[in-house]
Amino acid sequence: MGAITDNLPFMLAGLWETAKLAVLAIVLSAVLGVLVGAMRSARSRLVRWPAIGYIQLIRSAPLIVFILYCYFVLSDLGFDLTPFWAGVVALGVFTSAYLAEIVHAGIASVPRGQWEAARACGLSQAITMRDVVLPQALRRMAPALVSEFIKLIKDTSLVSIIGVFEFFHRVEVTNSRLLTEPFAVLGFAAVCYFVLNYGLSRFARRLELRLDA
């Protein structure tokens, strides 16, 4: 137990870093995901095909390769990102491709009549999407979105490989400094992630129940 209590402030400081990483990446992925998902649902091929390409390309890559790509290749291209921001970009862009598919499915689930009625009232295509279709679609997608965000929180642990000093990186440092207490230290990390993610998934389930009612 001493192994955990002695290093608690050091490890918990990383939890704050993880939270910042997760929140920024969620915001980025939500913006990009809704945008690409709306493009994916557009009728014009010129708009739809780039969105399909974006989604398929990103979804066929393992996240770890994507993180290394963002970090090393972006810096070669002249974008000098710190590991933290490279991590935010990698997690945000990666998750946005999965969100876009969910948004697309949500938009497809809104009855066609909603579109036609809004258009018949004189709303433009973009306004119909923003004010009529998307709000309804977003409500239906809420549970799927939350489970995608839980995945993102789990994935923040992977950016430790490019040197972001987040929660799990600090846990690993603690573990290799002590060397004798792997079960206590790693168990502590597992419990922290479990409480966070399981709590969120319970919340998502309640949301689901309320929407069904």
Binding site: P62, L68, Y69, K151, T156, S157, Y193
Partner: protein
Amino acid sequence: MFNDLSWSVVLDDPGRSFLLHGAWVSLQLAVLAIIGSTVVGTLVALGRVSTAPALAPLRWLLSAYVEFFRNVPLLVQLVFWSFGMFSLDLVRAAAAPLNPVYSNQFLAGLLGLTIYTSAYVAEALRSGIQSVPRGQLEAARAGGLGYWAAMRAVVLPQAFALAFPAIGNQYISATKNTSVVMAIGVTDVVFQAQQIESATFAAFEAYTAALVIFVVICLAESALLALVVRGMLTRVRPGVRTAAPTPALES
């Protein structure tokens, strides 16, 4: 940087043989983890759909298993198996006979990946079992089959066919997730790409090569899975069609 690309670092030796060796390691890891997680996941799903009152503690335990392994990051689990379990003399001794073929890191990675994936496979299969109409089991029991015989011969084949698109997505995720084992020192494709990158500074070439290898493996896998789904469905329910797994639905 795009003016002076040097693809020779990945297309010629030694880079090429590094990557091919890594691809072979990743492929073995993916195939073994898929087989292992299917076996474990099936057992867990069967336990979770059991109805005997005496098995209630088992059901609780299995749902804890599924929730725990799905909510803790794979990296944390892998580090736990490799630096926790594989630091015990007992475990190292038990793994020793396999060491001429597989390193302890590989075995820890395989164990972690198998258990992680099995939780997802169990959930997919459980919903497949639950979507087989209850009457199927009842008819089989009324026809004289025991519970397990009815499960094995009647319910499971249909459940697998119904759940296979979802399970197939988990297989593809598992294949992509093999890349996480590089963090515990397994010499997979990404590990080798990183070696090439740190020796030559050709980040774009090295990681693009790793990416291409993964894309090829995943596309081949999803084509194969689509064939399996079609075969399963026509065998169990002629005429029914379900969507084939698309590559990489889950990360």
